[in-house]
């Protein structure tokens, strides 16, 4: 069966990603020349600590979501299209791995488009017909973003004559006050910001995540935005360097403003949603705001907070969307009004939702607390106490929308409670093959919230390394 092949591939790549991360931690950068052609004439694949970390994130989410997918898609994707879903999934994984691993800017563009095209295809496999319009809208906006990225690459190539990231850094040093390079930075930043849904450019995200099949939402919400934020880090730090981007152009103020608007508008809009998947989508927009907030603080702690939130949010959102997948599998609906008292029939699923929700809010002992902690620390380092309050206010808003779901599903009683004969056979816990991957992620949430050594160490090393590019 197709699923076994795809499962073997995704777990195989996870093992490779893990080994690569260990190797980079011990030995430093790994460099590979594609086809034996040395850089800068050929395309090189370069793994440093930031790369390897993001690769690990994508690989683990890819493998765990694929384990979850087998039962989940039986309910959500038409049977004659299931093989197409698996194909698009693997293509998407390929594209994301390629973006993360490559050291050549144009190669990055090609892989960005590979992963984007397969995600448009996956979103359009959703059951409701609104999925098609959501996929179409995402296609238009995503392609505009990628084309802006291409224009930026074109200008950089015109000024320096090279496409290799390391080589671009060397050659761009003297050229930084030319109008072409400044324009290139503008196009690259706006293009990639469209792709990871930074605040004013987020219009495609709510519909895309709501109407896609649950597996697709879980996968896309946890990986694509993280990978594109990684691309942003690569461009801003490894190509242009901190002096140009943040001192001369003052991009950090723009990011700070966008991030704060994202956090508040995302969280407040999430509170009013009846469709839980749409609520989680708006919550994702807010969380992307947290990551960009960390990056805009341009300090070791700030960057560390941003990078570690890449990992933390991936496991939180994947767990939350997988809970919705379990609920949809049994109850055929993700509207909050249809799900009164669901907790009674699906205790394990709702317990997972509660723990992942606490992590999203940032309660101590969970992984979400670590990112919020470092964000607040970074704000206090700069004596920006108002920013620390803003971060905490965002968490308070998250409490509201998570609590809404918990109250309706776990505290209100099910309509079938008073009429035991109305209880239908489908109203029981989700199957084990869906619960186990979900709980692996939930336990990861708690484990990495308590034992933070590995993730914080890797994130700190990446932050210090990125800030080394003056």
């Amino acid at each position: 069966m197709v699923w076994y092949v795809v499962l073997a591939v995704s777990w195989g790549t996870l093992l490779s990603a893990y080994q690569l991360l260990m190797q980079v931690l011990e030995q430093g950068e790994i460099i590979y020349f594609l086809g034996g052609w040395a850089a800068p004439w050929g395309i090189e694949y370069r793994l440093d600590i930031l790369n390897a970390f993001v690769l690990m994130i994508v690989a683990s989410i890819g493998a765990i979501v694929m384990t979850f997918a087998k039962r989940s898609i039986t309910k959500e994707i038409a049977r004659d299209r299931v093989y197409l879903f698996y194909t698009a999934y693997l293509l998407n994984l390929t594209g994301l791995y390629g973006v993360v691993v490559t050291g050549d800017v144009f190669n990055m563009f090609v892989f960005i488009e590979i992963s984007s095209l397969s995600s448009y295809a996956m979103i359009s496999l959703g059951r409701e017909r609104q999925a098609l319009m959501a996929a179409y809208r995402y296609l238009i906006l995503g392609t505009i973003g990628a084309t802006f990225f291409l224009i930026g690459i074109g200008f950089l190539y015109a000024m320096t004559g090279t496409l290799n990231i390391v080589d671009l850094r060397v050659r761009i040093q003297d050229l930084e006050d030319t109008r072409t390079v400044i324009t290139a930075l503008a196009f690259l930043t706006v293009g990639i910001s469209l792709k990871f849904a930074l605040f004013p450019l987020h219009a495609w995200l709510p519909n895309a995540y709501t109407y896609a099949p649950s597996v697709v939402s879980a996968f896309l919400a946890s990986t694509t935005t993280k990978v594109y934020i990684y691309v942003l880090l690569r461009i801003l730090f490894s190509i242009f360097g901190t002096t140009f981007v943040f001192d001369i152009i003052a991009l950090d103020w723009i990011f700070l403003a966008s991030a704060l608007l994202a956090i508040f508008s995302g969280s407040i809009t999430a509170i009013y949603q009846n469709n839980i998947k749409r609520m989680l989508a708006w919550s994702s927009i807010a969380q992307i705001g947290y990551m960009i907030l960390g990056i805009s603080l341009v300090s070791v702690t700030g960057l560390l907070a941003g990078i570690i939130h890449l990992f933390n949010h991936a496991i939180i959102k994947a767990a939350l969307f997988m809970c919705m997948g379990c609920i949809f599998y049994r109850f055929d609906s993700v509207q909050l009004s249809d799900l009164k008292g669901v907790g009674r029939y699906m205790p394990w699923t709702m317990a997972a939702f509660i723990i992942a929700g606490l992590s999203l809010i940032g309660i101590p002992l969970t992984v979400g607390f670590i990112s919020k902690w470092y964000l607040v620390m970074a704000a206090i380092e700069r004596d920006w106490y108002w920013l620390a309050f803003a971060v905490l206010a965002g968490s308070l808003l998250a409490i509201v929308y998570i609590w809404r779901v918990v109250e309706v599903t776990c505290i209100q009683s099910a309509p079938a409670k008073d009429h035991p004969e109305a209880r239908q056979p489908h109203m029981k816990e989700a199957p084990l093959s869906m619960l186990i991957p979900l709980w692996i992620l939930v336990i990861a949430n708690i484990y990495f919230g308590i034992n933070t050594e590995l993730t914080v160490d890797v994130a700190r090393q990446s932050a210090e390394w990125l800030l080394g590019f003056k």
Partner: protein
């Protein structure tokens, strides 16, 4: 005058880019939006190719008569980008076909109204 006529290519790029972008934003017909997206991408291709032009250069095949060879790299990049553009258009049109099957219309405002009613 030389500024306008000498940089003729780049003016065309700007005009095409704005036309393409305007079509994407202003038109409600889904197929027209895709056409606008294509025009937008074509303008970027023309930009790259114009950047790759070398005055007095020839194709990069060794010949006794020439000393300047134009780099093939921008052209290769554009070929790749054209293929990416084709895939995007094909996927977009496939989605439009399915939208037409589901909604019976490919006008964005009619589709929006149908979604509001349901």
């Amino acid at each position: 005058m030389d500024y306008i006529l000498g940089q003729y290519n780049y003016w065309v790029v700007i005009v095409l880019m704005m036309i393409g972008f305007y079509i994407v934003i202003a038109h409600g017909n889904l197929v027209k939006k895709l056409i606008g997206l294509n025009i937008f991408q074509v303008s970027v291709f023309i930009l790259f190719i114009s950047l790759g032009y070398l005055k007095g250069g020839t194709a990069p095949i060794y010949s006794e008569a020439y000393t300047a060879y134009a780099s093939p790299l921008p052209h290769v990049l554009i070929l790749t980008a054209i293929v990416v553009g084709i895939s995007t258009t094909a996927l977009g049109l496939a989605i439009v076909v399915r939208i037409h099957k589901s909604y019976g219309s490919i006008e964005e405002d009619k589709i929006h109204m149908m979604d509001q009613d349901s």
